[in-house]
């Protein structure tokens, strides 16, 4: 598939708009002319292999590092002046960073005071991330999952319009992961634009409705998740009970206009999942017994691997 499925950047309701954003560290180009647009609301996944420039892009958007060239806008404000939008943005960049000797509550208090936020908000976010009972424990005694929850609580303190989280489910147990995913959905439904970076593609697929995919600092895709997956080829796999029937079934599918591949008793047809009943009927009409009939839908993992390997080939 094409790797240039990029949405136009002319929206006026963008939470984040990026145009030609580039960052060099010495002679290394970490981010190369990124252009994408994230509309307000919804959950957007920000994915790419390690070292692809995800955190660098986050940092530029948050005003932590300056771009070498290009520009971007957060909530309509240029990133050259983060003070105009940072109070409406919550962020967790890379791992949570808190004062180890302070309690969870005191860590949030330090952030709340800096943001001139009422202390009642601390109790609210502790409740949201289910840390109220452990708020008086020192941060250094927290488990990885609890540290992650506290980092998310810190990002939620300002009741942000844009929430940017780097690997937010890192260290969480399965129940915690489901809770946090549900939290993202609730926030998105309430109008918050949630941007989640993760290397867990199944997690992204389950939680996100939009996607920005980058590799080596280049944009691979930006748009709706289903748009990406629909463009990927899915297959239908049939396995005949008698391997001797496989060539005959392959011939019949060819006659039906498809291009099957055959491997022993296994026949694989490039087709949408809804072609499965048709293949079943062809086998039934021919008196061929199937041991297995399975549609294989494109998933984010295979799509990601396809896109990144295409990119690597093109780069060579």
């Amino acid at each position: 598939m094409s790797i240039d499925v990029i949405q136009p950047v002319t929206r006026t309701d963008s939470a984040i708009r990026v145009e030609g954003l580039t960052k060099d560290f010495g002679r290394h180009r970490a981010v190369d002319s990124l252009t994408f647009d994230i509309p307000a609301g919804g959950v957007t996944g920000f994915v790419g292999p390690n070292g692809s420039g995800k955190s660098t892009t986050f940092r530029m958007l948050l005003g932590l590092i300056r771009p070498t060239s290009g520009n971007a806008w957060m909530l309509g404000h240029p990133i050259s002046d983060p003070s105009r939008y940072i109070a409406e943005v919550g962020a967790l960049v890379e791992s949570p960073a808190m004062y180890p000797k302070l309690t969870g509550y005191k860590n949030l208090l330090a952030l709340a005071r800096l943001g001139r936020l009422p202390t009642t908000r601390i109790d609210e976010v502790l409740e949201i991330v289910d840390l109220t009972d452990r708020a008086s424990d020192r941060y250094e005694n927290y488990s990885l999952g609890m540290k992650q929850r506290l980092g998310i609580a810190g990002a939620l303190l300002q009741a942000p319009k844009v929430l940017m989280l780097d690997e937010p489910t890192n260290g969480l147990d399965p129940a915690g992961t489901v809770e946090i995913r549900a939290l993202f959905r609730r926030l998105a439904e309430a109008g918050t634009s949630v941007i989640v970076s993760s290397h867990l593609l199944s997690e992204i697929q389950a939680a996100c409705d939009r996607l920005v995919m980058i590799q080596d600092g280049h944009l691979l895709f930006s748009g709706r998740l289903e748009q990406l997956l629909a463009a990927q080829h899915s297959t239908v796999v049939a396995v005949t009970a008698d391997p001797a029937d496989a060539p005959r079934l392959a011939q019949l599918t060819r006659e039906a206009g498809m291009s099957p591949s055959i491997d022993g008793a296994r026949i694989e047809v490039d087709a949408k999942p809804d072609w499965s009943p048709q293949l079943s009927r062809i086998a039934l009409d021919a008196g061929i017994v199937l041991r297995e009939l399975r549609p294989i839908e494109a998933n984010l993992e295979t799509t990601f691997l396809d896109l990144t390997s295409n990119h690597e080939r093109n780069a060579k």
């Binding site: 940092r59 932590l64 983060p82 940072i86 960049v93 960073a97 000797k101 330090a110 952030l111 943001g115």
Partner: protein, 265 residues
């Protein structure tokens, strides 16, 4: 800046944070107080501006009870440098600086609040050391034959406050140098060792091997002079002016480095 200051206080008001620095400053002050009183038996000894010793005559002056504290000025300066440097460098090494900047991105006001917070913490440390030094002096001076009648007077209190204030100002300037080095290096260990190496060795090397004429101008000398209220070669006013200049330079340079630095930690 006020928000940043209040935020910094949450971190600094942990008693154990301040206690370590207060214990170091007080320990050294106690040692110098005891040594100065026990060794002050030579009427021809030198004054506190000269580190060779403190005479009985000097100890009998209204501010004599803080002579040991006054002699500890260089060490207190190193404590200040370590406090500022470790606090600021730790923000980078632990990554907390990025958490702070994603709440308030105005770097100058963030730094200003931190510096003011650290200055308050330092003032508490120096005050504690002064009180401990004075207490020890009052306890051991009598049995050692030191004349203390001028100590517990209005003049004594006034002189003591003056010594304390000079020490606070001098240590804050030391701290600002620590902040600058930390901002550049982003490493507590490197900042403290570089700062101590310059103030204890580097400046002595410059004075004795390169430009002896800079004795009254270089930072460590100026701050020592300020802490003891002036010397024959550099007046108190001159020391205050130079210390102020160094403070402004160190703070503006720290602020400029922070403003331009990419936060990649």
């Amino acid at each position: 800046m006020i928000a940043s200051f209040r935020s910094e206080l949450v971190k600094l008001l942990r008693l154990t944070t301040i206690f370590g620095y207060a214990a170091a400053a007080s320990g050294f002050t106690i040692m110098l107080t005891v040594v100065s009183i026990l060794n002050a038996d030579n009427p021809s000894g030198h004054g506190p501006g000269n580190r060779d010793g403190v005479s009985l005559e000097t100890l009998a002056e209204p501010g004599g009870y803080l002579a040991g504290f006054e002699s500890a000025s260089s060490f207190l300066g190193i404590v200040a440098l370590a406090l500022f440097a470790s606090s600021i460098a730790a923000e980078f090494s632990t990554g907390t600086i990025r958490a702070l900047l994603t709440i308030d991105s105005r770097r100058r006001s963030l730094l200003a609040g931190k510096v003011v917070g650290l200055a308050f913490a330092l003032m508490a440390v120096v005050t504690f050391a002064a009180l401990v030094g004075a207490t020890i002096a009052f306890v051991i001076a009598g049995p050692q034959g030191v004349e203390t009648s001028a100590w517990a007077t209005v003049d004594g209190l006034s002189e003591g406050l003056s010594i304390w204030a000079n020490s606070v100002i001098a240590t804050i300037v030391w701290g600002l140098f620590g902040a600058l080095i930390a901002m550049i290096s982003r490493s507590a260990a490197l900042s403290i060792s570089a700062g101590v190496a310059y103030f204890l060795i580097g400046e002595q090397f410059i004075l004795h091997s390169l430009w002896p004429s800079t004795a009254d101008w270089l930072p460590a000398g100026v701050l020592d002079t300020l802490a003891v209220g002036g010397t024959d070669t550099l007046s108190y006013t001159g020391a205050i002016a130079l210390a102020g200049l160094y403070a402004v330079v160190a703070y503006v340079a720290s602020s400029a480095v922070f403003e331009r630095r990419d936060v990649t930690d």
